[in-house]
């Protein structure tokens, strides 16, 4: 029988099936951060339970950590509530013997950056984390999903999840992307087309020649935002790009074990003729650089577009949503996207903080200056190792010379749990993944873009069509 990649991963992890259709799924890797784990560890302790398999877990603090100078350590985190949360993660990992890259470890960083970087993310795994952007790891043909805190506790205690099989969706992007259009634009265009609930209940596989042509970094950017299209899990099949990325990573297998693993991983592709419940196709050539204009990732448009008129929408629920968004963003229908001014620029987050993202942005701004009208432009590398690599290549100097701030790794302004945030009414050009009301700070107005578009907006002070810069 012809199986999809998701069918294969599901089957391989099936521990048992119940008569009611629910199933126990084995979890190979569990990634832990400070925000969604304390209550789970507390639950374990209260029930007198121990983690099922310690070495399945890897942890790092990322959401709360300061990105400014922090050599004085965790005890010096100014916000006492943030400090307690990071300390609690350290204590829990120490108590149970879980591998943790602590705040000032060179390998610390955003959970979804460090795990692939270390080879803790491998093809064919099931991977979970108390964070919705765990879909990122699907770029490795791993069945990766975000879970809530109760499920974090469940996985710690049983190494399993109770689930039902999802449906299969295929997103095919064939053809060649335009110069200046990247993975972020592709995924924003997909969300714009199918909406934020378009993938609900589906495992979403990304395929087609444009996806095959992307690096692992680009594929991670796409799978990262599968959740913004409603899908808990995104997937890309294994090919040479996957194998080459994994080889030689610290926790990747070596020697004979590598040979065995590679042979197995090569089968992690959708079979010819496998059934998908839904197929969406977008020609690569049709995708322009994207900018989100509203308060949901589906409110997104190509750079050369004008803002929509809420009154012209056919669905009254959409009209209402657009009206609210226009009001929150302080926009009028018909305004050009290129006329949107930005107050702050953020290059970072689990979507776009990998070395390739930083290279793309740095190449574009080399020798230029951040516009006077921009109050702050931040570059926050995804991990200590990304930061180190960028510094080796001199990217930090390019950013600093242009007027950007070069920071330490963490989630930072993506969700503003630390000190990096937007002020009331400020607009950002942000390479993150969510433009919800207040996401980047109370009253803040987020515009989601790729790293090239964010860099260009920093230089010009408003959004520009980056295709004209090449």
């Amino acid at each position: 029988m012809a199986d999809t990649l998701y069918d294969k991963l599901w089957q391989d992890h099936l521990v048992s099936e119940r008569d009611d259709g629910s199933a126990l799924i084995y979890i190979d890797r569990h990634i832990i951060h400070e925000v969604t784990s304390p209550q789970a560890f507390e639950g374990l302790r209260m029930a007198g339970r121990k983690p099922w398999r310690i070495s399945a877990n890897i942890a790092t603090p990322d959401h709360n950590v300061p990105t400014t100078e922090r050599s004085a350590g965790v005890d010096a985190i100014v916000d006492p509530v943030s400090r307690l949360q990071v300390q609690t993660l350290d204590e829990n990992c120490d108590e149970f013997g879980i591998l943790e890259f602590k705040m000032n470890d060179q390998r610390q960083g955003i959970v979804h950056v460090i795990s692939p970087e270390q080879g803790a993310t491998l093809p064919g795994m099931t991977i979970v984390c108390g964070d919705s952007h765990t879909s990122t790891h699907g770029a490795f043909a791993a069945l990766a999903q975000g879970i809530g805190t109760s499920e974090v506790e469940h996985v710690l205690a049983t190494q399993c999840l109770i689930q039902r099989k999802m449906k299969n969706m295929l997103i095919r992007i064939d053809g060649e992307l335009q110069i200046g259009v990247g993975a972020k634009d592709v995924v924003l265009a997909i969300i714009g087309k199918i909406g934020t609930a378009g993938g609900t209940g589906f495992a979403m596989e990304f395929a087609g020649s444009a996806i095959r042509g992307l690096s692992m970094e680009g594929r991670m950017t796409i799978c990262n935002m599968a959740i913004e299209a409603g899908a808990r899990t995104g997937l890309v099949a294994v090919d040479d790009t996957t194998i080459d990325y994994v080889k030689g990573r610290p926790f990747a297998p070596t020697g004979e074990l590598w040979e065995q693993a590679e042979q197995n991983w090569r089968q992690l592709v959708t079979d010819e003729g496998a059934h998908f419940d839904e197929i969406v196709e977008i020609p690569a050539e049709s995708i322009a650089p994207q900018v989100s204009w509203g308060v949901s990732p589906e409110m997104v448009l190509p750079i050369d577009a004008e803002l929509p008129d809420p009154a012209m929408q056919t669905d009254p629920v959409v009209t209402e949503g657009y009206k609210r968004a226009m009001e929150y963003m302080d926009f009028k229908p018909g305004m050009k996207i290129t006329d949107i001014k930005v107050d702050r620029v953020f290059i970072g987050s689990c979507t776009n903080s990998r070395i390739e993202d930083l290279r793309a942005a740095a190449t574009l701004i080399k020798g230029k200056q951040v516009s006077n009208s921009v109050k702050q432009a931040l570059v926050v590398p995804g991990s200590g190792l990304v930061k180190q690599q960028a510094e080796k290549e001199g990217l930090d100097q390019i950013f600093v010379d242009a007027g950007f701030e070069w920071r330490n790794p963490g989630c930072s302004m993506c969700l503003a749990m630390n000190a990096d945030k937007l002020g009331d009414g400020e607009h950002s050009a942000s390479t993150s993944n969510r433009n919800f009301e207040g996401r980047q700070g109370h009253g803040g107005r987020t515009h989601l873009v790729g790293p090239e578009m964010a860099a260009a907006a920093a230089i010009e002070g408003h959004f520009v069509d980056v295709r004209t810069w090449y």
Partner: protein
């Protein structure tokens, strides 16, 4: 976990689609290491006129009089009527914790985001799914009558309106069983401990590379 069997409760309308978990409980409140106490900050940015921070005395903050949950007629509310894709975005379980802490025991909407939907069942909240047409009618009925209440019965899987009209809803058997009996699903899974062990042993034999010891 608290049981859910049947509920007759006051209904509050949340008349907009794609309500995300960042709105349900904003990020600054996720710094808590506890499971309780999130109720006063449910929908914080919509509910109060000032910017909320952890540790504030919420009772002295300026309320937004236009926000639905601040209206006196919704005091004691336990059912929220919502639109499509409710609970989208972040996986934060603090969202159902905040809803539960505020007093919500059930939700009715045409659809929910997957992770949020799942998180509700772990916290004794029943997220009922009814068709868009029916939800639309309930919104109209609610608007037309103050003190509008609904009866939700999980055993019979029926929602009953004040006029006696009934709508049936689907719910996964396992989740229903856990909710009706207030069961902790970790305990249930651990009944299969030997099955999990034997699966794990087999996997270790076939795919040893998955079991590398992660060492610092």
């Amino acid at each position: 976990m608290k049981k859910f069997i049947q509920l007759n409760g006051l209904v509050a309308p949340m008349d907009q689609s794609n309500v995300d978990t960042d709105q349900i409980i904003p990020k600054q409140f996720l710094k808590s290491i506890k499971r309780s106490g999130f109720g006063p900050n449910l929908f914080d940015a919509w509910r109060y006129l000032d910017e909320g921070e952890p540790g504030m005395d919420n009772s002295s903050r300026p309320l937004n009089p236009d926000f639905v949950l601040n209206k006196p007629e919704f005091k004691g509310v336990s059912i929220m009527l919502a639109r499509q894709n409710f609970g989208c975005g972040s996986s934060r379980e603090h969202a159902p914790w905040a809803l539960e802490d505020f007093g919500f025991q059930a939700l009715i909407a045409p659809s929910y985001a997957d992770i949020f939907y799942n998180n509700c069942f772990k916290n004794g909240i029943l997220p009922v799914i009814l068709s868009e047409e029916i939800v639309d009618r309930l919104f109209q009925e609610q608007k037309a009558s103050e003190g509008y209440s609904l009866d939700i019965n999980l055993e019979t899987q029926l929602v009953t309106t004040p006029s006696g009209e009934q709508f049936s809803f689907e719910v996964d058997d396992f989740r229903k069983h856990c909710l009706l009996n207030g069961l902790d699903d970790i305990g249930i899974t651990l009944q299969d401990e030997t099955v999990i062990h034997s699966y794990e042993q087999q996997r270790k034999k076939e795919k040893a590379w998955l079991f590398a010891d992660l060492k610092a």
